[in-house]
Symmetry: C2
Subunit: 596 residues, 2 copies
């Protein structure tokens, strides 16, 4: 099996991973592939037979609350993870999902209190014969993939008891001999960083902060570029008042991509903290920034800040999808496509960081008119903020109303998919607006450091729902079609060579649509879906798997039992009616078509 092959291969884990990932029967990384396309070459399940999709088997994780991410499938084994307490199961695909091993870490439950947006975990990674679990308490643990035994374990966060508000939710990524992890806690004044550990022994290889000195940020003032120009000395600290950058956010809790040829890792940084913009004048670099870093050294090659001086919590952490040969002005370009929380979708040259396209992917977006594309403008690359929606201009203790999108963005962490066949991006989106009232807040380590009261509601004067599932042309920067959904689509999409796209809904439906957005199949799973749809082949049959378990930021009301509308950082009110459709859960549902 693929697993034993890889176990033999040893240290050069990435070669294995690349070849294992190129075998569409497996699903070896949380993101499917390094490019984060979430595209599968499997086509035994396709637009003609998907209507016959059936549930093949199911598995309960034994954990409630938000289940993000999806299982890994490596050879005959499926690895399933769960939110806090982050139980991991190895299931035997040859034996109806019999449990080969189970790992249940003991964690201080106090970490639950410092997780901003539910006790989620976006999945485990595989490499070098090990399964890497990044726990809520920021412990990164390497488990023997065959036995579940702990090979090594390291604490990524700075304190043992979570008292600085650091937590872990993101899925690690294995690149060559390293495993990469981020950090959460932007709502607690955590200063973000991305860290690489050796897969073999857990020794730290490099760490790159999101803000701070050039040394700490692994920035070369001469060589690291922003929109084609070297960033210069102290590019980060210069854009902050005093020491605010030390508690400045820019956490790294989203997805990571990797281009093996360029040897670059891509990811985005989160909101500057606090959410009260008056407390942090300046551009607050490098929060809200796409980073391209050398995989071996962590050195930044280029970066691009999407939302300078954020006033709306538009974290820049959403996935970077690497697509080849996208035709821009007649030229095929190898690009990075990013659907930002701020409602703009960006297409950049992924080698140079050149900004190619920046367009709204929801017409409701109103906080900015455009991103300036004129290279000669002093506004080049900057969104043009509409005064009315500037929570900074309106000031502290003033309720800025009708801002679109809401803080959870036109899209949050729920990953989109890209089909090289249609050259289209399939994007789960939010169609939600907000009122945002900043207030002065003082910092106490380990305490919530938000400084704004929010409420959220469906985008006004639209279809009444809180989401759309759209197809996007990243060359033109255009919505190709848009399928309205009652709630935000908080699940990750999957596109396949069978000419279908899958996604889940917060009510709990798994849906399959054709490339024009027509619904071909839907099934009501036990709980709301915020997991990412996965596919694999076993014993000659294609399967589709998805985790149910309502939660995440959108589902925080249900997940944490909150009912006041401004609770859950403002998300509770908008999604209140979700409780008419679903209840907490934690289940894997595996589908197949009987005759393939």
């Amino acid at each position: 099996t693929a697993l034993s092959l890889s176990l033999a291969a040893g240290a050069v884990a990435n070669d294995d991973l690349q070849s294992m990932a190129s075998d569409a029967k497996n699903w070896v990384m949380p993101t499917g592939d390094y490019a984060n396309t979430r595209y599968s070459k499997l086509n035994k399940i396709n637009k003609d037979n998907v209507k016959n999709l059936q549930v093949a088997w199911t598995f309960s994780t034994g954990v409630l609350r938000g289940h993000e991410g999806g299982p890994l499938i490596i050879g005959d084994v499926m690895y399933v993870h769960a939110p806090f307490p982050n139980t991991v199961y190895a299931l035997d695909l040859n034996n109806d999902g019999k449990i080969l091993w189970k790992y249940e870490p003991k964690q201080d439950p106090n970490v639950i209190g410092i997780m901003c947006c539910d006790t989620v975990n976006r999945g485990v990674a595989y490499g070098d014969g090990k399964i890497f679990l990044y726990q809520a308490d920021t412990t990164l643990v390497a488990l023997d993939a065959k036995t579940g035994e702990v090979a090594w374990s390291v604490k990524n966060g700075s304190t043992v008891d979570g008292s600085t508000g650091e937590s872990g939710t993101s899925a690690p990524m294995v690149v060559k001999d390293k495993v990469i992890v981020g950090i959460s806690g932007g709502e607690f004044g955590v200063r973000g960083h991305l860290t690489a550990y050796n897969v073999s022994d857990g020794k730290q290889a490099w760490r790159a902060y999101s803000m701070g000195s050039d040394e700490e940020m692994l920035i070369d003032p001469e060589k690291t570029t922003h929109l084609g120009k070297p960033v210069g000395t102290d590019s980060s600290t210069k854009t902050w008042e005093g020491d605010q950058w030390k508690i400045g956010g820019g956490t790294t809790w989203g997805w990571y991509s990797y281009d093996p040829e360029l040897n670059l890792i891509y990811y985005g940084t989160g909101n500057p903290s606090t959410w009260n913009p008056s407390q942090r004048p300046g551009d607050n670099r490098w929060s809200m920034t796409i980073m391209a870093r050398d995989a071996d050294t962590g050195m930044a090659k280029w970066l691009y800040q999407m939302t300078p001086h954020d006033e709306w919590d538009y974290d820049g952490v959403n996935e970077m999808i690497l697509a080849d040969g996208i035709e821009i002005e007649g030229q095929p370009r190898d690009v990075l496509v990013h659907f930002d929380r701020n409602g703009f979708a960006y297409t950049l040259d992924r080698d140079t960081g050149e900004l190619l396209v920046a367009k709204k992917y929801d017409p409701a977006v109103n906080w900015a008119t455009e991103v300036v594309m004129d290279k000669n403008s002093d506004q080049y690359g900057r969104p043009q903020v509409v005064d009315k929606y500037s929570t900074d201009k309106n000031g502290e203790d003033v309720n800025t109303t009708g801002v679109c999108p809401a803080a959870l963005g036109t899209k949050d962490q729920q990953p989109a998919a890209y089909s090289p066949k249609t050259k289209l991006f399939y994007v789960p989106t939010n169609h939600v607006c907000m009122d945002y009232e900043p207030y002065r807040v003082s910092y106490t380590a380990g305490q919530l450091y938000v400084g704004a009261t929010l409420s959220m509601y469906p985008a006004p004067d639209s279809h009444g729902g809180m989401g759309n599932f759209i197809a996007w042309d990243a060359a033109k920067g255009e919505i190709v079609w848009s399928k309205p959904e009652q709630f935000s689509v908080w699940s990750g999409a999957l596109a396949t060579d069978g000419d279908i796209v899958f996604y889940g809904t917060l009510e709990g439906y798994l849906k399959a649509i054709d490339k024009d957005g027509n619904e071909l199949y839907k099934f009501k799973t036990p709980s709301g879906i915020i997991g990412n749809v996965t596919t694999y082949e076993h014993d000659g049959k294609q399967y589709v798997a998805v985790l149910s378990g309502v939660g995440g930021w959108a589902g925080i009301g249900l997940a944490a039992g909150l009912t006041k509308s401004t609770e859950g950082l403002g998300a509770v009110g908008g999604y209140a009616s979700l409780s008419d459709y679903t209840a907490l859960g934690g289940q894997l549902t595996v589908f197949t078509v009987p005759d393939q």
Copy 2:
């Protein structure tokens, strides 16, 4: 719809219930019908097409641990209940299970600590336009079936804070204008009783204790009979030493049946407490007894004690199945059939309590050689205990080994089904033996009052598994066929006019077998099944529904996170390998055959 019809009918709830139950499209009582047959006249899903069974939709209850019982289906609405905290949902069958209302009681979580065998609940009852929920804390609450609003609520247990160890797990039964509930706590020295409340206002109508004075027991010394003879004065207290009967157990946590023609309610009483038999010399009447009581007054017509002076915890609470025209010695008899924990299956005339058949339904049963059937013998009706397996004779602090069945019986609360078509009973059984070491224990209100250390294991020299699913001929007292299972079958069976029988397994499989026990279909649900399989028809299609959620006594290790083999009153060790197959859950899975 049926629901609105019944809402109109008002007080004579039982007429509704009977006619509603006779419409096989509904499933209006936890037991399916008053006779507890769990037989459905539906046959659109049948032995020929059941292989095409598919999952139609699913629903997570938002609660983990053991999910016993099953949903009610009344017209277009399905009512789903959950273990502690006993959430109840009304789901709209016309709208993919959309939640019409949800009721989530607030209960003192301390009750969890006084539930012997997991935080289970066996289901809600319907009558008079109300849904009756019997909570863990012994609150009986009547909810408006349409809105979920509380109509009335009454506390069945004697104290408010559970400090006497009283709890509730059983499903209520509505009979005419009354709703009947039992009580749990035999492991806490609770004295059992059955209580009737008015459906209209929750006023107590009658209460019958399982032991005590004739008045408290609602026994008429002249008219109430035991094996054909009046019981005489003080039939209960006479068989106890001192006041031990006041903490004597005999709880009533199982199932209730009703014969509308005889107007008799049938149920069984649980173990005498403590489990240490040396502390309670005598027959310990009327623990371990089948009771036939007048539905209006509660007066006992007849009773029959199966296990006098219990030495093994063989609670007599298993369901009484009412079957008509069973031919005994050439005569068709209207009987009551009862598969007791003690390993004997009893057939009695349900009008007179005459003992017709008493035979072992597992050849492994060894604690008694037989039940004496000679009416002239002074041993008439009594099991003949084998000295070697007498924990009383062997005495305190002596480990009596190799007793079959184990304390959880050849069958526990998991209900059997009866098909009037085949005249056979389909019985989920345990194939488990035990070591039992009694020790002296003193009583403290609200504290565990068990006085024995147990360990359990598969019946030796057999197929190695811990269960069988059997077909039983109650006229002859013979096993017709027996299908081995790896674990005890802790789920309730369902027989249908489609010539199939359904049951669930602790690993989580829903299975369909034909009348000869051949497996026609199996499907792995999210978690181990200890729920009871239910069927209904909606919009012209037959459905099969079952709750998953491993737990109950057999699954207590998983449910409560216990690992020491003698924990969980001895069940943890025997079922330890269950964790290789399943994890905690709480899901409803609804199946159908697409082309019917």
